[in-house]
């Protein structure tokens, strides 16, 4: 629409949209956003994986029935099985056959064969909800059995610690990428201020406040950040979707729709935070740079 028409034309952007090298900046920001998204997905996936493993382990008890004589193997493992069945009626109870229990000891003895009279402990695995080591121990001892019960706590704790390290690595990487994004935007804004110093000089001359000028750069950086973040989020989403569909990544990928949806929401949130960081960096840098230039007068 011509400016002469009765209706005033729309206000043009005071800073030019098409800047030289802006595409290179978009690429850099997209890669940063992508890496930040991957770090977030990795951290969240590690958390899911650890929770899955720990939940699997917390649903399992392994009972060793200690014997004086190998002849007692069948009656005592049967007694243990019955007792456990009464205490945990909903649990799956598997008694490892004696031959397999002996095979488990074989690696410890090398080529030497086990003597037939060796009192190999009976091994019983319980799987189910609400299993409790103390309850099982009490019931089995009351039945006159000598037992060792492993509720996998030590293993689960170790897994938890390892998983927490992975989650921390993911979040630290995410934080580093956001800091890198912030730094790139500070640099880009300074370069923008230098490249557009003629425009700024005119704006200052007509009485524009620092905030007015900062708002122009904030808008520009927000747009730049949103484009970079959108590209990064989309690529990260497709990458994770592809990995999940390929399989073999367990809970690190998306095994359920809800995991995918929640992670996608996190990605969108991260994209918004990324863009806001870009905008904030531009605003603060502009205000500081203008104040610095004024002091130099």
């Amino acid at each position: 629409m011509s400016a002469r028409s009765v209706h005033p034309p729309q206000e043009a952007a005071l800073l030019p949209h098409k800047l030289r090298n802006v595409r290179a900046l978009w690429v850099v920001l997209s890669i940063m956003a992508l890496l930040a998204c991957c770090a977030l997905l990795f951290a969240r996936g590690s958390l899911r994986l650890s929770e899955d493993w720990q939940s699997q382990l917390s649903d399992t008890l392994t009972v060793q029935v200690l014997l004086e004589d190998i002849q007692d193997w069948t009656p005592q493992t049967s007694l243990a099985r019955e007792t456990l069945g009464e205490v945990f009626p909903g649990a799956d109870i598997d008694v490892l056959p004696q031959a397999q229990a002996r095979e488990l000891l074989q690696p410890w003895l090398g080529n030497t064969s086990l003597p037939d009279s060796l009192a190999v402990p009976g091994l019983i695995t319980l799987t189910g909800p609400d299993l409790n080591q103390a309850t099982a121990q009490k019931a089995l001892e009351a039945a006159g059995l000598r037992v060792n019960i492993d509720d996998n706590t030590r293993y689960a704790d170790e897994l938890g610690r390892t998983a927490r390290r992975f989650v921390s690595i993911g979040y630290v990487t995410l934080l580093l990428m956001l800091i890198a994004g912030l730094s790139v935007n500070i640099f880009a804004t300074r370069a923008g201020l230098i490249a557009q110093k003629d425009i700024i000089r005119v704006l200052v001359q007509v009485g524009a406040s620092d905030k007015f000028i900062a708002r122009l750069f904030i808008r520009q950086a927000l747009r730049r950040g949103l484009i970079g973040a959108a590209m990064g989020v989309c690529i990260a989403f497709l990458l994770w979707l592809g990995l999940s569909l390929l399989g073999g990544w367990g809970e690190l990928g998306w095994t359920t729709l809800s995991a995918g949806l929640v992670d996608t929401l996190w990605l969108v949130g991260l994209g918004c935070v990324f863009a806001l960081i870009c905008a904030a960096a531009a605003g603060v840098t502009t205000i500081r740079q203008l104040a610095f230039e004024r002091r130099r007068l």
Binding site: E11, A12, V202, V206, G207, F212
Partner: protein, 227 residues
Amino acid sequence: MSSLPDLVNFERVALRYGRGPEVLTEATLDLPQGSFTFLTGPSGAGKSTLLKLCYLSLIPSRGLIRMFGKDSALLTNAERQAIKRRIGVVLQDFHLIEHLSVYENVALPLRVAGQSRAAYHTDLVELLDWVGLGHRLDAYPPTLSGGEKQRCAIARAVIAKPDLLIADEPTGNVDPEIGRRLLRLFSEMNRMGTTILIATHDTHLIDELDARVLRIEKGQIFTGKAI
């Protein structure tokens, strides 16, 4: 002599760029409210420097500058910006923003002041018609001639009806007819109360009006065209 208060007041103002010699040494000047003043002097005498001090683009090395009754050294940021919005400036090199149309360039002071486009659209088109740019509203500065750029810069300086208009060689690039028309515009603005300070070499322009003439020489300001 006007009894109105001074809009601009310089007391023994000196200015040097970096470690160079003083461009202005003992400049004393007053611009009473509603006055029309020509500033003349040889090239390199410090006319542009003096104007820059007047529109707060430079800070003096020493001396006192009072703008609108306030010591310029004590102005806060907000006060400085508010004063700048009361000053219209036309520079020799125009300072137009290249990616903005003539319309947008002229509208700039009003946008910065927060006025809505609907509020100023008609006045702006009228002003551009008046300075002879009515047919070039949508044109961009790189496509304008020197004279058109100058008129665009003048329109931008006067659109917000400033209290003080500072112009550096405003008729340097325009033909005599447009020059006279611009002078009429300045004269009309002055009649409406705007204080005008024009730096020029053009003696014909100075002769057109019965206005005060200041001469800058060797860093000092004298009254009258020449010794």
